[in-house]
């Protein structure tokens, strides 16, 4: 169960705004967290508390394939992302690195709402508005990757992909 406060952003947040290209060339993960979302919201770092939830509209994470985007969000302490839908590379990247992401079409979560998320069943309870949302179901192979905590532990365990 994840409990946290929602930080609401809009549609089409691209990966250049999540982490600008000039900061991506590094293996120092904490330096990515220092600059996350800075062009989009210069106050992000002050506002954000570890465990908070990032909420967006359509097409979150479009643009560059940089995995540094979900890595930076995870390193900053985001517990979960909720969007109406994601750009495909970002979505795969987030699952692969073990950052919880939920696709919740039609949600109306507002900035500051208190949320309670049941990751296992994909249920988002909006405590501030008193409503409940169900996320879309992941393909089986993605659920297996999520269950192992990401693609690295998945492949360390199985050595190869498997689809029943």
């Amino acid at each position: 169960m994840i409990n946290g406060r929602a930080h609401r952003y809009g549609d089409n947040i691209d990966t250049d705004r999540i982490i600008p290209g000039k900061y991506t060339k590094t293996l120092d993960i904490s330096s990515l967290a220092d600059h996350v979302m800075e062009d989009l919201d210069p106050h992000f770092k002050q506002k954000f508390r570890i465990g908070d939830i990032l909420v967006a509209g359509d097409n979150f994470g479009c643009g560059s394939s940089r995995e540094q985007a979900p890595i930076a969000l995870k390193a900053a302490g985001i517990s979960c992302i909720i969007a109406r839908f994601y750009a495909r590379i970002f979505f795969r990247n987030a699952i692969n690195i073990g950052l919880p992401v939920l696709e919740v079409p039609n949600h109306e979560i507002q900035d500051g709402d208190a949320l309670e998320i049941d990751m296992e069943n994909g249920i988002v309870r909006n405590l501030s508005q008193g409503d409940l949302h169900q996320s879309t179901q992941l393909p089986k192979v993605m659920m297996d990757i999520v269950a192992e905590g990401g693609l690295v532990p998945y492949l360390r365990k199985y050595g190869d992909y498997h689809i029943d």
Binding site: N12, D14, D16, P20, K22, T26, Q68, V141, L151, G159
Partner: protein, 410 residues
């Protein structure tokens, strides 16, 4: 079967060995893969963490140092060293600084062929759809899995057909057509789907222009983009994969190319596309001809034809980054580069250059840039206080000449 297949369905079926239709989940053997200095270090790290010791097939894996090359600082220099060491240890190809932009290098060196499944750790990998390949962009960890297993898991995409009628007018190019298509589909309109280009307007296009079309499907959120190989000319024999007449498409968009005037993508999104006429006269200070979208030999020649015997406007700088070493050699051999430099252009290294804001020409605050690249997001070129317009090489050259956004057809 009863119904035909799209190009993507045919390529995936040929690779999985069983009928693969839109929506099917499949594990696909990958013919080639690639990572750059932005994505390779993380991929190499993930490969090791997965327990990877040797690459599944070193002859199918390519490293390219292009995004910040030559290294602008010691941190990036060390990442480049890591890539060189890895290539040396594993026996895979390393395309070092000056080789060019990853996508151009893969095509120049024939590392991707028609009908291939190719995974690149860069979002513009669909560019190879110009050759009739099924090519997708992935992140570093997905790529590490390809390095380890030689495979990727995918959901076979539904396909959007873009039918381009007529023939492009003289001053409009593949870039104008591509921008019009991005506008029609919007920045998220092809998410999880493939895009297939068909029609008389694309049949006459060169490989270079087809690459521009496929390059910009990334700006629609597409999984891949393929130009129907009808009319495609390559310097080697190849087997083309065509869509069936009765292939099933998710939707069809039609564009009348014959009336298409030069387009411009207005800040801050590549789908914010308009007729350049409406912006004619907007002052610019910085013009960039480069990137995997439009920095090939034909692009540079278009610019040289506009600038021959003239000089760019006072107060404007024109930066040119050829797409690859081969492009640079060709542009030197026929005098194209000389013409551009005499007109006042600044030549920089073959590579990504200022496209991604890592180095080599970051714009200042309040500057207005006109560029042949593919993205004009806020901060894309390294400064969120600059604005970026996207257009064809002809538009950028004509604008550099006058110092303001200029319709090259006038």
């Amino acid at each position: 079967m009863g119904k035909g297949m799209t190009i993507s369905e045919k390529i995936l079926t040929a690779h999985t060995g069983r009928e693969t239709r839109a929506g099917d989940l499949c594990i696909v053997p990958v013919d080639g893969s690639m990572a750059t200095d932005t994505t390779a270090p993380l991929a190499i790290k993930a490969f090791g963490e997965m327990g990877g010791v040797r690459l599944k097939d070193p002859s199918r894996f390519h490293l390219v140092i292009d995004h910040a090359a030559p290294a602008p600082n010691e941190r990036i220099a060390n990442l480049h060293s890591l890539m060189r060491r890895f290539a040396n240890d594993q026996g895979c190809a390393l395309h070092d600084i000056g080789s060019g932009i990853c996508h151009q290098v893969m095509v120049d060196h024939r590392k991707v062929q028609p009908g291939d499944v190719f995974m690149g750790a860069d979002s513009h990998t669909p560019t190879y759809g110009a050759l009739g390949a099924f090519a997708c962009g992935v992140g570093s960890t997905d790529l590490a899995a390809v390095m380890l297993t030689g495979k990727i898991w995918l959901k076979a995409p539904a396909t959007i057909r873009i039918l381009c009628h007529g023939k492009l007018p003289t001053h409009s190019s593949g870039k104008d057509l591509a921008l019009e298509a991005v506008k029609a589909l919007t920045i998220s309109g092809a998410t999880y789907q493939a895009v297939e280009y068909h029609g008389t307007a694309v049949e006459g296009l060169s490989l270079s222009q087809r690459m521009t079309l496929c390059n910009l499907v990334a700006e629609m959120g597409a999984k891949t983009g393929i130009v129907s190989p009808k009319g495609l000319e390559l310097p080697y024999p190849f087997e083309a994969t065509y869509a069936d007449q009765d292939a099933v498409y998710a939707r069809t968009i039609e564009i009348d190319a014959s009336s298409l005037r030069p387009r411009i993508a207005v800040p801050d999104s590549p789908d914010n596309v308009d007729d350049i006429e409406r912006y004619q006269g907007t002052r610019i200070t910085y013009a960039f001809i480069g990137s995997c979208t439009n920095a090939r030999h034909d692009d540079l020649r278009v610019a040289a034809d506009i600038l021959r015997g003239k000089h760019i406007a006072k107060g404007v700088r024109l930066v040119i980054a050829p797409a690859s070493r081969q492009v640079l050699i060709d542009a030197l051999a026929d005098g194209t580069m000389q013409t551009l430099i005499e007109a006042g252009a600044t030549l920089i290294n073959s590579g990504c250059g200022p496209c991604v804001g890592s180095h080599e020409g970051v714009p200042g605050d309040e500057e207005v840039v006109v560029s042949t690249a593919n993205r004009n997001f806020k901060g894309r070129m390294g400064n969120p206080n600059a604005s970026i317009y996207l257009g064809s090489p002809a538009t950028v050259a004509a604008s550099a000449l006058h110092g303001y956004l200029t319709n090259p057809a006038l």
